[in-house]
Symmetry: C2
Subunit: 313 residues, 2 copies
């Protein structure tokens, strides 16, 4: 087998004709790496991803360097990447100071990070579920005033290590709050990877019922329990066409020490190619990037597609 | 999180209310192990699986011992397992001599193994696609005459390492031939793991169009490219309710040296539990079995559910 499949002859009814892959490897993936990666490698990683055809590449965070030392070089990364026309390079921003730094680095898209549960809001943000928006609202409103689009991430949307199963109505409330203050996109995250496809379809339906357009909804799955790609299929069937993924499956979940983290971009592209869904991504170039990064990090390549193609070619 | 999820509140429309998991670990899984496993461990593995609630456990093969030394103790395995009422213990039988041995061992269900492609038929069976049925027909007919139900496996149903993409009409022809000579069940296998969900839905539809009942169709996916559970979801949505899986993901594909082999039974049960689909399987007991077997084999536990639950409990 080569690195390409033929599109499915049939069976893709009710699926979108194209999917926008929101690549999170350079930010969400590298953030969870223990060893500090130098700026050269981060820039090369991002430039390889844009060359492979990824349309959105979350590039870094502007957070306190003592909190996330891995991403302390965000300004350098943003100044050194070769910005490809048409490609977006969002950065994560937690507060007003982060937005200042992002704007100074000429970031043209930002993201904020909210919680669907009270416990995680308190542990990760130092806020309650009820008052976390006090943290985001000024940032989102100022960004929107600067014509900078904002994406809102919502974590723990299906299960929470402390609270168990999460009420989807609670998730919808947080999503609505983010949209209401100006987020043009949201990303619902299964941070600990416990969701199954029925829950995904249910939540997407409730989000649409709340007035959030399908075009604004992205999904973010972790493969901790092996469910990420099945959940993605359920989201596509519910009309979603933005899917987060991380090249090589980079990015573990700190609450479950599984070998697998984010949905691997290669595994996602394999499925979408097979379904005849356009992504603009060249799978061969993506696998080469994943293999290169794994070698540079001194570890086996983690995605199954990259493993399989490496041994079959 | 405990080892249980709540059933999905909604979203399971068009899915079966129950699924029969056809556990293939003791045969298809162990067959691919390099180290010879002693009979005690095989018997304990099978008895743990029946205690965990698996309804069908493919126990061994009656093939030439010089071909598959790992399963040379088939008769001893069959005589020593504690046969649980209501549980089926099929065995793989390649020919008349194998059927003699299976009957002598009081096997009450058998399976035969066909190919959907000519190249694999020649390499694996020493027959052409056109004449492979000459090998199976006498075995199937004699078994049916003895009131022994026969399942027909069909390998390489979606892709073949030598021939590339496989025409689904060719797969349907082989399935029809097996059903016509007396197989009550078939299992369509993605032996090299390249299929994507649209192809699965298409093939199931063509099988049904050919007159094969949904109740007779099983699916057998490999996770080589990470697609197994998404493909399973597509098969369930097409009306299939028999799914092959291997505890711990045991069983590599010899044509792609990926870390992952068969769909792991634990990952399947996690999804089905989440969808509120009945299986009769106790996930905790299954994960304990998978963890025990991995320890006995001296390797890390391979399924993602077992990895995740081991570290979270």
């Amino acid at each position: 087998m080569g690195s390409r499949q033929s599109p499915a002859l049939v069976g893709a009814a009710n699926l979108p004709s194209s999917v926008r892959i929101w690549e999170v490897g350079p930010r969400d993936g590298l953030q969870n790496e223990q060893q500090i990666i130098d700026t050269d490698h981060k820039v090369a990683f991002i430039d390889r991803l844009s060359a492979a055809g990824l349309p959105v590449i979350e590039a870094t965070s502007f957070v306190r360097a003592d909190r996330i030392p891995q991403l302390a070089d965000g300004a350098q990364v943003m100044s050194r990447i070769a910005r490809k026309p048409g490609v977006r390079y969002p950065v994560l921003v937690p507060n007003d100071r982060g937005l200042d730094a992002a704007v100074a680095a000429d970031a043209r898209d930002i993201a904020v990070f909210a919680s669907a549960t009270n416990t995680f809001a308190e542990r990760n943000l130092g806020r309650t579920l009820a008052n976390q928006m006090e943290m985001f609202t000024p940032v989102v409103q100022r960004a929107v005033g600067l014509d900078i689009p904002v994406r809102g991430y919502i974590s723990m949307c299906f299960g929470d290590p402390w609270e168990g199963k999460v009420d989807p109505r609670q998730v919808v409330d947080v999503c609505r709050q983010l949209v209401d203050v100006g987020c043009g996109d949201i990303s619902v995250g299964d941070t600990i990877g416990v969701a199954t496809p029925g829950q995904v379809g249910e939540l997407i339906g409730l989000l649409v019922d709340s007035g959030i357009g399908l075009g604004s909804i992205g999904v973010h799955f972790h493969d901790t329990y092996g469910q990420a790609l099945a959940n993605t299929l359920a989201a596509l069937q519910a009309g979603v066409s933005t899917v987060d993924a991380s090249t090589g499956g980079l990015g573990g979940c700190p609450y479950a020490e599984s070998a697998t983290g984010n949905l691997a971009t290669e595994d996602l592209v394999w499925m979408l190619d097979g379904l005849g869904i356009q992504t603009g991504v060249d799978l061969g170039a993506l696998v080469a990037t994943s293999t290169w990064l794994a070698r540079e990090l001194g570890r086996p390549v983690a995605s199954r597609v990259a493993q399989a193609l490496r041994t079959s070619t």
